[in-house]
Symmetry: C2
Subunit: 263 residues, 2 copies
C-alpha cells in the first residue's frame, strides 16, 4: 500500500478543516483496504495458500506494507464476499473455491471443469414449447414452431454452480428427450446427434443480482452476484442449434481468457 | 412460455397433496417469469424497443404465450435489476442502458465505447508505491521496487462506469505522471510512451457484490452486482506493463465476444 504521504490526493480539497482531514483519512483507509483485498483475492484464486490458511495479519501487514487496520478491513471485505472466514485459534482460512471457466474455447461445463470433479445436472423442466419470435429468429425456425426447452440446475461435486435455460430446435432436440442429460453436456449430445462438431458461439456476459427465486434454486443468498451468460451456439455448418441463458453463482465461477491487441 | 400441462416436472413429487400442487404451481410461475425476463432482457439490450417503451402487458402476454401474471412478474424482475420502470399513463419504459465491452480484442474503455460517447477519468490517486511481492512478480520487477499506482473512476457521458486500480512498472509509469489521464486510455498512453503496440492480456472475470465503499464511489446501491475484471497486459515484445483490477457497474456494462469450438 502506498503510505498516505506519498499519495497525491486529487479529489480532496486539502485538510483545511479537521472534518475534511478525517474524511480523507477514512477514504484512504477504505481505498487501501480494497486495494489489498484485490491482491489477496488474486492470491487466493491462484492457490497461493495451499493449506487453506492465510498468513497472520502482522505478516500480511509486513508483506504488503499495510497497517494492521487496513489488513483487518481487507479481510472483512473478503469475508463479506464469502471467500474467507476467521476461525478462532486458527486464523483466516479460505472457505470458498472458485472454478475457472475458459473464455478461449467453446466448451461445455463438464468438459471445462473435468479436472475439478464431476458435473451432474438436475433436469427441472424439459419439453416442447412454442418459440416466441425472438427465440425463433435466433434459432432460425418459424415463429411459434415448437422448440425443446430445458431447465437444468448444474452441480460440481454436489454444489450448485449454475441454472441453465436452454432452447433447441425440435428436429435436433427431440433426440435429446431420451438422452442421459443428468451426466452429459448438451454440447456433447448435440455433436453426437448431428454427427458434426460445434462451430462457434456468440456470448454476452453480465453481472446481475440474483432475484429471490433464482437465489433459492442456486442455494445462494438473495441478491447474490450472479454471472449471467447468454450464448447462441452454432454447428460447424453455421446453423444455430442452442440458445442458452446461464446464471453462474458468482462465488463459484471465474471466466478466464486471453485477449490480443490486433486481430 | 410452455403451458404447464406440457411440461414434465422432474423434481416435484406429484400433486399428491394440495400443498404440493400449490407449491409446484408457484414454482412454475416463478420459473416462467425468469424465462420470460431473460428473453425480454435480451430484447432490451439488443435495442428492440427503439422508442424506449415496452409493448402493453397483454401484447407481451400474447407474443410470449404467457399469462398476464407471468408478464407482470417478469417485468418486476427487470425492474428490480434497474433495467425498466413503470410510468403511470405510459407503461413500462427502459430506464438503463448497458454498453457492450468487446471480449474479442484487447481495447481500452474509450476505444471500445467510442461510438457511445465520451469517456472521462477522475484520477483519485496516483503515485509511486512499493510493489508487494505478487504485484512485483507479475510485472517482473524486484519485490519492493516502486511501481506507479493509479486509481481512477471512469465515466461515460458523466455516468460512473468503473473503478480501476492500476499498477505499472515505474520506468514506463513515470512518463504517465505528466500525461492527460483524464481524457486518455492508459493503453494508448503506454503505446505512445514505449513506441510499440500492446500484445496480449490475460483476463479473469468475476461477478461480486459491491462492498459499501466501492458502491458509494460508483454511485451504485450497496451490494450491487459488479463485474470484476482482472487484467495483466503485455507489450508486443512480451513484457508485462499494466496490471489492473477493474470494477464495472453490472447495470451499465456487458461483455460480448465470439468463442470457437476448435482452436
Amino acid at each position: 500500500m502506498p503510505p498516505a504521504d506519498r499519495i497525491r490526493d486529487h479529489s480532496g480539497q486539502g485538510a483545511a478543516t479537521t472534518v475534511a482531514a478525517h474524511r480523507t483519512r477514512r477514504r484512504l483507509r477504505a481505498d487501501q483496504a480494497r486495494q489489498l483485498a484485490d491482491l489477496l483475492r488474486h492470491q487466493i484464486l491462484a492457490g497461493a495458500f495451499p493449506d487453506g490458511t492465510l498468513p497472520h495479519e502482522s505478516t500480511v501487514a509486513d508483506d504488503y506494507r499495510a497497517t494492521r487496520n487496513t489488513v483487518r478491513q481487507a479481510l472483512d471485505l473478503l469475508r463479506a464476499e464469502g471467500l474467507v472466514d476467521r476461525l478462532p485459534g486458527v486464523g483466516t482460512v479460505v472457505v470458498a473455491r472458485k472454478y475457472p471457466h475458459g473464455l478461449d474455447r467453446l466448451m461445455g461445463l463438464a468438459e471445462t471443469l473435468r479436472e475439478h470433479g464431476q458435473v451432474t445436472n438436475e433436469v427441472r423442466t424439459m419439453g416442447p414449447s412454442a418459440a416466441p419470435t425472438p427465440v425463433a429468429e435466433r434459432l432460425r425456425v418459424p415463429p411459434g414452431a415448437d422448440v425443446l426447452y430445458i431447465e437444468r440446475l448444474r452441480r460440481l461435486n454436489g454444489l450448485p454452480l449454475s441454472l441453465d435455460l436452454t432452447y433447441i430446435p425440435l428436429d435436433i432436440g427431440s433426440a435429446l428427450l431420451g438422452a442421459d442429460l443428468e451426466n452429459n453436456d448438451v454440447f456433447r449430445l448435440l455433436e453426437s446427434i448431428t454427427g458434426q462438431p460445434l462451430g462457434h458461439a456468440e456470448i454476452t456476459l453480465e453481472a446481475v443480482n440474483a432475484d429471490a427465486h433464482s437465489a433459492a434454486v442456486l442455494q445462494a443468498p438473495r441478491g447474490a452476484a450472479v454471472l449471467m451468460l447468454e450464448r447462441l451456439t452454432h454447428l460447424a455448418d453455421g446453423r444455430p442449434v442452442d440458445l442458452e441463458f446461464i446464471r453462474f453463482r458468482g462465488d463459484r465461477i471465474t471466466m478466464s481468457g486471453l485477449l490480443h491487441r490486433s486481430l
